[in-house]
């Protein structure tokens, strides 16, 4: 199983290299240099936010769930962080703790509604997202709170050309890879996503696994919210309008994780995030019309997924839901 997953992941990194090469060539023809420091910084900066969200999203999608509330959680978290810190450097740890607590609780609610309430995750998390939206619209009519300069460093500092936020994102990705490969809960996530009935029968506590995935996903969204707060210098409810959840899902699937669950991993997701970031930077450097950008983005996402979807689906998507038929397939 590991080797198969690796080969899919490898394929995605090949795709990333291809996008980088094609993008570099296109920018070069245009008379620029995609690999200049400024552009590298831009690319890496763009990976952090989607990266945080997509890492969490990968966990829930692996469990055959989905989280459409992450954009709202990130917006709320930016406000929780900024209002808790309220300009005082001493409050930074408290702010971080508050965000992780709030976002973790929302994740637990998502997970509980999905697991115990048997509500389809699409509806459950869309509903939770709407509840948060109503709260934000009522409570915060605009930016609020004040992020101390020390915490703004999280959004602005970089070591050479690598932003700190990207490093944190990569650390989190590494933790995610380790979690999925080496912990029992991680293995259970694949099992639950592969076939929840079989997983339950083989003694996995499926509810707990799915709730854990949702808690971690929301906490990742909380970290994304803290990054927003660090970059904005304040908390912003408006951040939910950007449909970050769709970006995160696109990056996850682009990274080879199957929406039906049970297949994929964080390593691929990071590549998926990177592909989107490279595209955005290339479009920006080449000054592509913003609407053409959407067209290209949509086409490339479909094309990239199509490129490796076929074999991946052939091998994996036919879950043994109709067990006896398995032998009938070529």
């Amino acid at each position: 199983m590991t080797s198969e997953r690796l080969s899919t992941t490898a394929l995605i990194y090949v795709a990333l290299a291809g996008v980088l090469a094609a993008g570099g060539a296109a920018v070069a023809v245009d008379g620029g240099n995609l690999f200049s420091t400024a552009n590298l910084v831009d690319m890496l900066t763009r990976t952090s936010l989607t990266g945080f969200l997509a890492i969490g999203m990968t966990l829930v999608i692996l469990c055959r769930s989905l989280d459409l509330s992450v954009g709202y959680v990130a917006a709320l978290s930016s406000l929780v962080a900024a209002t808790t810190m309220d300009g005082a450097p001493g409050n930074v740890p408290l702010g971080i703790a508050a965000v992780l607590l709030v976002s973790g609780l929302i994740g637990a609610a998502n997970g509980a509604i999905v697991a115990f309430g048997r509500v389809n995750p699409f509806i459950a998390t869309l509903g939770v997202g709407l509840i948060i939206k109503g709260y934000l619209d009522t409570e915060y009519k605009g930016p609020a709170g004040d992020v101390p300069a020390i915490f703004q460093q999280f959004g602005y500092t970089r070591i050479a050309f690598v932003p700190v936020s990207t490093i944190v994102m990569l650390c989190l990705a590494a933790a995610g890879i380790w979690f999925l490969r080496s912990t029992r809960t991680g293995h259970h996530m694949y099992a639950v996503g592969g076939n929840i009935d079989v997983a339950r029968m083989s003694g996995i506590r499926t509810h707990r696994t799915r709730i854990t995935a949702h808690v971690l996903c929301s906490m990742c969204a909380g970290v994304a919210g803290m990054l927003l707060a660090a970059r904005f210098g304040t908390g912003s409810a408006e951040a939910y309008t950007n449909l970050y959840e769709l970006d995160a899902i696109a990056a996850t699937v682009l990274g080879g994780t199957l929406l039906l669950g049970g297949r994929g991993g964080v390593a691929g997701t990071v590549a998926g995030v990177a592909i989107l970031a490279v595209l955005d930077t290339v479009f920006n450097v080449m000054q592509i019309d913003p609407f053409a950008k959407d067209v290209l983005r949509g086409t490339i996402i479909i094309a990239a997924v199509a490129l490796y979807a076929r074999r991946q689906i052939d091998r994996t998507a036919r879950r043994p839901r109709f067990a006896a038929a398995g032998t009938g397939r070529p």
Binding site: F291, I301, I302
Partner: protein, 330 residues
């Protein structure tokens, strides 16, 4: 015979009963708050503006019951309205040919969605998310960012006008008649062999394929029906309110919510098209209720989210036992 039994089972056991009960409760509260709402004129106006969502829900039902998603419908509705305005450009004579072009365009978009999903094996969530981006960008590229041109008076008739001076009812909107016609056609379609194959495909595509069903064909057809329904909805919405840049935005989430509220299971294989359409009516009734109660606008998403989750969870609870047996293929 068997069909009648399964329909009865669905009514009693699943979301179908819930959605009609919810609809009744909402109407009862509306009546308590404002008995005037049940005058013919108000009811007709309500049905007129609800018609596009109901038709969209019927289209989305085909896609969902066959095991897919169509996230592109909101963008398609918007695109169709803009296409109509630009091509008609105020000239009456162009109305009918342009409607023809729109129908072809809707079918083409559905066909592309269907073929990319079935032939290229891209998961429908990604296919239609990509299509959403492409339509959103392409239509704005074509019109320079904001809609141009204008609709003709005759184009606006189906969405805005009706049969005048009907006894007891006053004006009967064309939109209502079109909605009834679409609903009847959808119900009829689901009773044909196509409908049965569609449900079987959503329930277990492998089993359906083994028993000789052309799984890819019916799934593609479902997307085409969704594209068609978005076109009709576009004609009605454009007729109802004219052109604006935001037409259709976010409708994909509303309509999927409506279909699920109707007890149709995401992932396919379960649910009735009547209930999906009732789900759409329920959503519209809910918005009306919010308005009648003068609920603060910023709070409405929260209430909406909570009600949706509660309704779907309630339906899932009731479905639990009977649905346990559906895994057995017939």
């Amino acid at each position: 015979m068997q069909r009648a039994r399964s329909a009865a089972a669905a009514l009693l056991g699943g979301g179908t009963g819930t959605v009609f009960a919810l609809l009744a409760v909402i109407f009862a509260i509306v009546f308590a708050v404002n008995p005037g709402f049940f005058q013919a004129a108000s009811l007709m106006a309500f049905l007129k503006q609800a018609a596009p969502l109901v038709i969209l829900a019927a289209g989305q039902y085909f896609v969902i019951v066959s095991g897919n998603f169509d996230l592109s419908v909101g963008a398609l509705v918007g695109a169709q309205v803009v296409i109509a305005a630009r091509l008609i450009d105020g000239e009456e004579a162009r109305t009918v040919p342009v409607i023809g072009v729109m129908l072809l365009f809707g079918i083409a978009v559905g066909l592309v969605n269907g073929l990319v999903t079935t032939v290229l094996k891209v998961q429908s969530f990604i296919t239609t998310l990509g299509m959403l981006l492409v339509l959103y960008g392409a239509i704005r590229l074509w019109t320079g960012g904001a809609p141009t041109g204008s609709l003709s008076e005759s184009f606006r008739v189906p969405g805005r006008m009706g049969i005048e001076n009907v006894p007891l009812l006053g004006q009967v909107p064309w939109a209502l008649l079109i909605m009834i016609a679409c609903g009847a056609a959808a119900i009829w379609l689901m009773r044909t062999r196509f409908g049965r194959v569609l449900i079987a495909t959503g329930d277990n595509d492998l089993a359906a394929e083994l028993s000789g069903a052309r799984v890819d064909t019916v799934r593609t057809a479902a997307f085409v029906l969704s594209g068609l329904s978005a076109t009709i909805a576009g004609i009605l919405i454009g007729g109802f309110a004219g052109v604006s840049a935001q037409v259709g935005e976010g409708m994909e989430f509303t309509v999927i919510t409506a279909v699920v509220l109707g007890g149709v299971v995401l992932g396919g294989g379960q649910g009735l098209v009547v209930a999906a359409m009732a789900g759409a009516l329920t959503i519209e009734a809910l918005f009306t209720l919010f308005n009648q109660l003068a609920l603060p606008a910023s709070l409405r998403p929260s209430v909406q989210g909570a009600i949706i989750i509660a309704a779907v969870a309630y339906a899932a609870r009731r479905r639990m036992r009977p649905a346990g047996q559906t895994a057995t293929p017939s």
